[in-house]
């Protein structure tokens, strides 16, 4: 039903298209602005927020530095609590495990809690191909699925849709997927949510198999945790007979006590609430309560490759709060689709290239450049992932990956060589400055006014066009510093 990001053009092209969608920009500006405000408010309530961030980062680093030990411990705890543990190297293996389990129970449908891991492996398509309907039960995911659309935000995947569009989708599509929307449906969010409640309740009450992800998996006890707002998670986690959780191997926490740090950091960072409406924890099977068959699929899918990169490794601390999306000036204007990956925004710009590997396709290689490096993402990250540091590191990886294939020097190489020759002699530098001043006087006549009273040039021709296509080129000063010094500075010195 819902598509994939396959075929998305490289970021600059996709971003240009997104920027032309004024409705999208309005929706995004409203949404990200609202969440930013709420987050700042509740983070401000915590006196020792910085200490909490440090603790969050340290807990995740502790896990990552000893991941094999914690994974083995998690497996032992889960098994002892009555769960069945599966391991999946990649998307295909994970999908095969879930499809196999669903088939073994003779079902042709599963209900799903929103999960980034199952989106990452495109589980829904794998299930559909096996003749099993996968029903997304998070309201936003339902909107995305019914609209045959792609999610555009980690936390509010339908952030790009407004109420009128959602009403249209519900009226048009609900009937073919189950209980139809009432004919007199309005675009009041209350009415839309009520329609979703009726539509999904039918599915919850009959479903025998559910699929979830997990926000945290505690090695010490085998406890899995799902953090949510609507209760669709609780429905999936408790009503069906069989529960299958697909869990990225980086989701491990050492001890149950570590949840206290994470449960303070996550809701405040993500929805700007002191606590999200519902958090569920379960440890294997509880007799007489909830699913009596519990499976956990531990998913690698590139995570061990990320682990091998000492700078990039910190991306695995991510707890998927989406705070970095909401503060990012680039995300706020382009939205999530432009990133062409399950993980959008700043975290997607570092996680996706690492999971996929750089140097293989232009779309992936464009992601580390989808940033102005302003650093706002690092400031809000609850586990202190230095996203700008990793972006710069990945840019160098992308350059290196391409250098190996290149026989002739690039325009950039030649420009750098020329600059080096010019700057290594005072006379040559002075001559270049005089030329620039001449160019500046000429360019000032050709330029156009920009905000702030500056004059800027449009796109410049030749090898610099790739750079100037997406930037305002400043007009060179009409007089160089040396010339100005000659003219004015000497006497006063």
């Amino acid at each position: 039903m819902s598509g994939t990001f396959l075929g998305t053009p490289a970021f600059p092209t996709a971003a240009r298209a997104a920027l032309e969608d004024s409705q999208l920009r309005r929706n995004l500006a409203h949404a990200t602005g609202t969440i930013r405000g709420k987050r700042a408010g509740v983070v401000g309530e915590v006196d020792e927020w910085e200490q909490l961030r440090l603790a969050g980062a340290a807990i995740k680093d502790r896990v990552l530095r000893h991941l094999p030990d914690y994974l083995e411990q998690l497996e032992r705890s889960l098994t002892a609590a009555g769960a069945t543990v599966h391991w999946a190297r990649d998307a295909a293996e994970a999908n095969a495990i879930v499809v196999g389990l669903a088939k073994a129970h003779g079902t042709d449908e599963v209900v799903k809690v929103k999960s980034m891991a199952t989106q990452e492996i495109d589980l829904n398509s794998a299930l559909e191909n096996a003749g099993i309907h996968a029903w997304e039960t998070d309201l936003a995911e339902l909107i995305v699925q019914l609209g045959d659309d792609l999610p555009s935000h980690i936390l509010v995947p339908a952030i790009h849709r407004n109420r009128a569009e959602i009403r249209e989708i519900f009226l048009r599509e609900m009937g073919s997927a189950g209980r139809a929307a009432p004919a007199d449906l309005t675009d009041d969010p209350r009415r839309l949510a009520a329609a979703a409640r009726e539509h999904l309740r039918e599915k919850f009450l009959r479903a025998r198999v559910a699929v979830s992800g997990a926000n945290f998996a505690v090695a010490e006890t085998g406890t899995l945790t799902v953090v949510e707002s609507e209760g669709n998670g609780r429905m999936c986690l408790t009503l069906p007979e069989v529960l299958i959780s697909v869990v990225g191997i980086e989701k491990v926490l050492p001890t149950f006590a570590d949840l206290d740090v994470m449960l303070q950091l996550l809701p405040r960072s993500s929805t700007g609430e002191r606590m999200n409406p519902y958090t569920s924890t379960w440890t294997g099977v509880t007799p007489g309560d909830g699913p009596q068959e519990v499976h956990v699929v531990l998913l690698d899918n590139g995570r061990t490759d990320v682990l091998a990169d000492r700078t990039g490794r910190q991306a695995l601390r991510c707890i998927r709060c989406s705070a970095c999306l909401n503060v990012c000036p680039v995300y706020e204007r382009t939205g999530g689709h432009a990133y062409g990956s399950v993980y959008p925004g700043p975290i997607g710009a570092i996680l996706t290239p690492q999971l996929r590997g750089v140097g293989t396709d232009p779309q992936t290689d464009s992601l580390p450049y989808a940033s102005s490096l302003c650093g706002a993402c690092f400031e809000v990250c609850p586990v202190r992932i230095d996203i700008p540091e990793v972006l710069v590191h990945l840019r160098s990886e992308v350059v290196d990956a391409h250098r190996e294939h290149r026989r002739v020097p690039s325009v950039q190489d030649m420009a750098m060589k020329a600059a080096s020759w010019t700057l290594s002699s005072a006379a040559r530098t002075g001559a270049a400055e005089r030329a620039a001043g001449l160019g500046g006087r000429l360019a000032a006549k050709l330029g156009r006014p920009a905000p702030g009273g500056r004059t800027v040039l449009g796109a410049v021709p030749g090898p610099a066009s790739a750079w100037s296509d997406s930037r305002d080129v400043p007009v060179p000063a009409e007089e160089s510093f040396r010339a100005w010094w000659e003219r004015t500075g000497r006497d006063e010195a």
Binding site: G231, T238, A257
Partner: protein, 216 residues
Amino acid sequence: MSAREVILQKARRALADVPDVEPVLDVPVVRPAQQDTLPHEQVVELFAERVADYRAVVERTTAAAAAQRVAGALAGRTPQAGSGPLRILVPPGFPAALVPGDVEVVPDGPDVAVSELDRCDGVLSTAAVGIAETGTIVLDHGEGQGRRAATLVPDLHVCVVRGDQVVPDVPAAVAVLDPRCPLTWISGPSATSDIELDRVEGVHGPRTLHVLIVER
């Protein structure tokens, strides 16, 4: 080689920079120091304020008046069936003295079908812990709290919390909870902000959460 072996081996190779002698708990985790704890009365007061912040209904009451308040929480609701008394789900261990006389009691248990839960107008439960700082109620699904589905499917949840069950913050709650029990943390009624970030109460869980804080 199995997927398990491959993943563990790849992870070990990826961590070649971590010295073999480094203990598993080597990265030091320094948690924020505990704040000066408020007097208990203020902790309960904060809890009531913060629960109300989520648009839940909050009442503070005494043991003597609690039964009357439970009845009050159910008053004015119309039964799903259209007529007759309200059908109220009551978990085993819920204090019988608090159950109003004019309702049809449906006792919760593992053999109560989900469709049966869906026909209940409301559920009464106790709680394991209340968290003041975040306005959260935690159920460990022990005595009086029912199975996880019990407090989920009916549209009204009336939750009775004893004042002495309220702790100041999240770390204090995690410290007293048993990870072997399934836990449900509830902060206000079911809510969504997925449509233009407008908060709407009740998508799937109870649309009304009514919390009674009972003190002697």
